[in-house]
């Protein structure tokens, strides 16, 4: 075959008008060439390509963050009541002459919903929205001692077979429930403990709790209603923090792209351990730990704000802009950029998580801040 015949062949391939055999000739050549080529880019050259492509493609990038200065002392002075009174917001510093302005009507971005991915002990991953309610999802254990079910509300439940030989000390097998952007999911563990998992989070737990401790590992945010069992403490590990409880209700906020791990107690008592320190929380208290400090700080907070997400709401209690925007990033799959100094903006109040993004931004704009929506990027400026 000469060059022009080959060119004709290739052009027909492009148009999709080749016979199966001619098409196969080209593909066979391609595969032959690929598997016999010794060409190889160096690690350095591949890294170079990676960086080059990264700058050309619409990838999710880390937000450019203007450092948020130490909080300006805030006196919540004016509450703006909106509509039914469900939404109220305060300004951190009230400047009378500044009018609230909606700069641009943002294009609507839909909220998240119930989305979760379950990883079984054999590594198989299941998209839970593909499973219909009341299904048995899988069985775990050497003799199928544990059944994983989905109840009518979509909650994942671990049921231990009553006939299973409980005297046997099985090695634990672990499952992981995780949520993507815009997903949250509820689960009942083998001991009856309820876990609500917030967006972009994951929890790893044994399919049954043998041994004398109940240990789970959390990345991201979850609310726990721990089933009482005084003989087996329940332990939540996140990064360097370890929380030990007997039977209580509490929320753990431990995203590895946020500086502070927050543990908020609603009922009972928990011990928060971090490095060599331990703090015992009382109901209504929240502990904060940061990577740069060895101390655990404890303060009184609005616990409702900490667990509002489990009730389908956003609620902010003197929340700083960055942490509010992080929540929106995780729930709406957006990217946030900061322009100018917006460090002193604090939010109080709330709205619902099933609203489109534009409605949530409208509420936030009452707090002396403006948003511009460019596709899925939200630009925040004073």
């Amino acid at each position: 075959m000469n060059e022009s015949e080959i060119l004709a062949l290739l052009q027909k391939y492009q148009e999709g008008t080749l016979s199966n055999e001619d098409k196969d000739k080209l593909e066979a050549w391609y595969l032959h060439k690929a598997s016999n080529s010794n060409r190889q880019l160096s690690e350095y050259e591949l890294e170079d390509s990676y960086e080059h492509l990264k700058s050309k493609l619409p990838l999710a990038q880390k937000a450019k963050v203007v450092s948020l200065w130490p909080r300006v002392a805030v006196a919540a002075s004016v509450a703006l009541l909106l509509g039914s009174g469900i939404f109220y917001f305060t300004k951190s510093e009230v400047k009378e002459e500044e009018k609230i302005q909606v700069v641009e009507k943002p294009k609507d971005i839909a909220p998240g919903g119930n989305k979760g991915i379950l990883t079984l002990s054999n590594g198989k991953q299941i998209v839970l929205s593909d499973v219909s309610a009341k299904d048995i999802i899988a069985k775990e254990g050497e003799e199928d001692e544990v059944t994983i079910k989905m109840d009518a509300n979509g909650v994942i439940t671990y049921v231990i077979n009553p006939n299973a030989d409980s005297s046997k000390e099985n090695a634990n097998s672990f499952n992981t429930l995780s949520t993507p952007t815009g997903g949250q999911y509820n689960i009942v563990l083998a001991d009856g403990t309820k876990v609500f998992l917030n967006a972009v989070s994951s929890i790893k737990y044994p399919t049954q709790f043998n041994g004398d401790e109940r240990t789970v590992e959390l990345e991201g945010e979850a609310y726990f209603e721990v089933a009482k069992d005084k003989s087996k403490p329940f332990i939540v590990k996140s990064d360097n923090q370890k929380i030990q409880v007997l039977g209580t209700h509490f929320n753990v906020h431990a995203y590895n792209n946020e500086a502070i791990i927050k543990t908020t107690l609603l009922e009972g008592s928990v011990a928060v351990a971090f490095r060599n320190q331990t703090a015992i929380l009382k109901p209504g208290q929240q502990s904060n730990i940061t990577e740069n400090s060895t101390k655990i700080t404890v303060k009184e907070v609005d616990t409702e704000a900490a667990i509002a997400w489990t009730n389908g709401r956003f609620k902010f209690d003197n929340a700083d802009l960055k942490s509010v925007m992080k929540q929106l990033e995780r729930w709406y799959g957006i990217k946030v950029e900061y322009r100018g100094d917006v460090s002193d903006v604090r939010f109080n109040g709330g709205t619902f998580r099933n609203k489109n993004l534009s409605e949530v931004l409208k509420v936030l704009e009452l707090s002396n801040i403006k948003f511009k929506v460019e596709g899925k990027t939200i630009i925040v400026y004073p």
Partner: protein, 189 residues
């Protein structure tokens, strides 16, 4: 985002169809380097390889809502690269670089096979290329592929009559196995 790095390819694909940019980003993290290397094997030019892979990833994002992927994500991406490269070669100025190779192959080595066999050949090439990646990249890449570890099953699943092709796939899988045994003892098959 470490939650995403643990998702198997088909989960990422599922999320991508729902407009999840983090899933797209994770696919890029996993596949950009190996696809550039693959394109380079055919094209022999680094910048052309970059361009081809850029187009493949751009179109993956632009078509995310109507993606119809029947096999694995990896073979989808490799096929997309293949189509781009064959299209690229179909230009008059480029074709001369390949004309001899193509005509030589068609006239002397080509044996007809059905598309199923070609699919298997492609899978074997993917497996082999992963095995030959620089160690650091290979490890990260493979550890993340949770559910697609059964490359060694490829040889068993083969329903191939052509002996040469079978041997070729077998060789690739063998190389892969040996490579992995030495480099990745953390791996459980």
């Amino acid at each position: 985002m470490s939650v995403y790095s643990k998702y198997a390819d088909h989960i990422l694909l599922n999320l991508l169809k729902e407009d999840d940019q983090l899933a797209y980003t994770e696919i890029f993290e996993r596949y950009s380097r190996i696809l550039v290397n693959h394109a380079y094997k055919l094209l022999g030019r680094h910048d052309e390889a970059n361009d081809v892979v850029q187009e493949v990833f751009l179109s993956l994002w632009n078509k995310r809502y109507e993606l119809a992927v029947t096999g694995s994500l990896s073979s989808y991406l490799y096929k997309a690269v293949k189509n781009r490269i064959l299209n690229h070669i179909a230009h008059e100025k480029v074709v001369s670089r390949y004309a001899d190779s193509i005509s030589n192959f068609i006239e002397n080595e080509y044996v007809f096979a059905d598309s199923k066999l070609r699919e298997k050949e492609l899978e074997a090439i993917i497996a082999k290329e992963i095995a030959l990646l620089p160690e650091k990249m290979r490890e990260v890449f493979l550890l993340r592929k949770v559910e697609e570890l059964s490359y060694d099953e490829i040889s068993n699943q083969l329903n191939i009559t052509d002996k040469t092709a079978k041997q070729q796939v077998y060789n690739s899988v063998k190389i892969l196995r040996e490579k992995l045994k030495t480099a990745l003892n953390v791996f459980i098959w």
